[in-house]
Amino acid sequence: MKILGLNEKDSRFLLIVIFLTLATPVLLQPFPEGSGMAQFNAGYPDLMQRFAIFGIFAIGFNILFGLTGYLSFGHAAFLGIGSYAVVWMYKLLDYNVIWGLPLAVVVSGIVALGIGFISLRRSGIYFSILTLAFAQMMFVISYSDLFGRFVGTTITNGETGLQVYGNDPQVLLGATEPSSPHFFGIVMRENFWTPQFGDWQFTFNNGYYFCAVIAILAFYLSLRIFRSPFGLMLRAIKTNQNRLNYTGVHSRPYTLAAFVISGMYAGLAGGLLAAMDPLAGAERMQWTESGTVVLMTILGGAGTLMGPVLGAGFIKYFENIFSKINDNVLHQWFAWMPDGLEDAIVWVLHFFVGKGWHLTLGVLFMLVVIFLPGGLVEGGTRIWRFIRGTDRKEKTADATHQPEHVAYVAEKEEF
């Protein structure tokens, strides 16, 4: 079966992704309420929205980093720009997200064009440093509301963060309109179905499905880019930019296009964050946020289609679920042990849970980078091969779907 201009294999792939995305509220709720494992359930709206939104962020980042190998350390700037654009549309027009989201994409695209134009004059580590510098400048500008002070009105509202106030114009606001973000009356924070099957409780949330549909579109678009002549050129840039230049291709417009596209994805993700929760703050632009998307992409598998989404889900899951495990929970788990041993184990694990979840993530990240340079996707592929008992040598036969690992920051010849 072929759909939407894809070949058979990709069509099947897309259908699986669509199914998984739409079934997330069920799939992430495997444990019955009240059981000891219920805290590992992730099927609640706020977290699922984050999975979808950061999935979009990572898919876009992967178009730049995964395909061209250019490692940007400043993509959080676009995330923040997207959020500010959406909240401004709430303030000026009304709470319908239809105005803000396209604006978020356009504005972040324009800013990406400027930053990319300058940063892409260098490659390798110098490119990364330039993008980091730009993002930090943007962070400081928003945090201190520098533009706002310059023009005499607030733009980012500084460290308080941008939000909607009662005296904002909201010129399109109707009398019966919801007073929180909505899409033509579909209120994001409301659930449209909360079925209960025995002990299992599922939440189907408007906001999640809104993000999910956009995430599927974003994924489809990136799939098309991967299979296009444009995507081929981007992959050529990653392997040998020098040869590409001598083959008659001007690599810089290609990298710039990839940078702008990934900036627009990041702007969209930022816009969606504000569409779920009508706030925008400068902390969203901090460099740690840029680092997170790099981690997501590498953890999942840079240059693969599914990898970044998996990585995003993994990190957000850890951030929200692992951080909730505290010493009491640990004591419950190991209560069957002799007291001394129990205390000792809890004392060790204490550092890896709760606020220490970063430590677990760090260990996991090291293990993945050392043993699975292709990320979680490579891990999945290996397990699949092991189950089917196929020879590992087959790997070379399908470079499109399992590209080999390449060094990320390779200094390339300048032109």
Partner: protein
């Protein structure tokens, strides 16, 4: 008038005079070899043809266009393709993808944004790339990772990429450097075939005499940055100046 005209080219690196007053003319349809001992300035000269170096004085004209001060991709789009000393290919991509990139560059120019087309549906590109692989007898290796090819096959692949662009001038920088004898002979045969079938003008930088004498129609001998002799291969072989340049003066 040759297809490539080099006039009074000089290049200094600090105190070292790498090239001084090089004059050279490559005639259309011929194989022109540039030979010389190590340090004669062969690679410097080649770098002046491909946009990597700009000479201090003189001019390099290709079909009436100056090649000085323009970028490598622009030079390629004028019809000058280049083969590197160590084969430069897209080693993370498949053999077929390598050739397709060259075909795209020929068809679409140096930049064209087409994110919604699908590579496998571009039938003209697919057919041409397949034809090129047949021509260099590598079609059965179509889906291999090009990193896993042998040195000789990498050279073949690089040649296929250059030929896919129908170049007017093919620059070869020591095409057999570091190759085993068998690979060298294969490469010579490949180049001879190409020359016979397509009549592409070639400029070869080489210091392997065996390669040069079996391929070239005309040879320029470079020594210490200056051409000392230019002639047909038969005359070069016994030329006293050439022997002097390669072996030094007799004591």
């Amino acid at each position: 008038m040759g297809i490539l005209e080099v006039k009074d080219v000089s290049k200094r690196f600090g105190g070292l005079k790498a090239l001084s007053d090089v004059n050279l003319s490559v005639e259309e349809g011929t194989v022109h070899a540039i030979i010389g001992p190590n340090g004669a300035g062969k690679s410097t000269l080649l770098n002046c043809f491909v946009g990597k170096l700009i000479p201090d004085t003189g001019s390099v004209m290709f079909e009436g266009h100056s090649l000085l001060g323009i970028k490598p991709h622009q030079i390629n789009q004028l019809g000058v393709s280049r083969v590197f000393q160590t084969p430069e290919i897209f080693s993370e991509l498949t053999v077929f993808e390598n050739v397709m990139i060259a075909c795209f560059a020929k068809r679409d120019g140096s930049f064209r944004l087409q994110p919604f087309k699908t590579v496998e549906n571009e039938t003209d590109i697919v057919e041409k790339a397949e034809q090129m692989l047949v021509d260099v007898s590598m079609i059965e290796k179509r889906d291999m990772h090009s990193a896993s090819l042998s040195r000789g096959d990498k050279r073949r692949l690089e040649m296929a990429m250059c030929l896919a662009q129908d170049p007017k001038l093919l620059l070869l920088d020591e095409p057999t450097a570091g190759m085993a004898r068998a690979d060298t002979n294969n490469t010579i045969e490949l180049l001879k075939d190409i020359q016979k079938q397509r009549g592409i003008t070639m400029a070869i930088i080489e210091h392997d005499m065996h390669v040069v004498f079996s391929l070239a129609d005309r040879i320029t001998v470079l020594a210490q940055g200056t051409p000392i002799v230019e002639d047909v291969p038969e005359k070069i072989k016994g030329h006293p100046k050439v022997q002097e340049a390669y072996l030094g003066t007799a004591h």
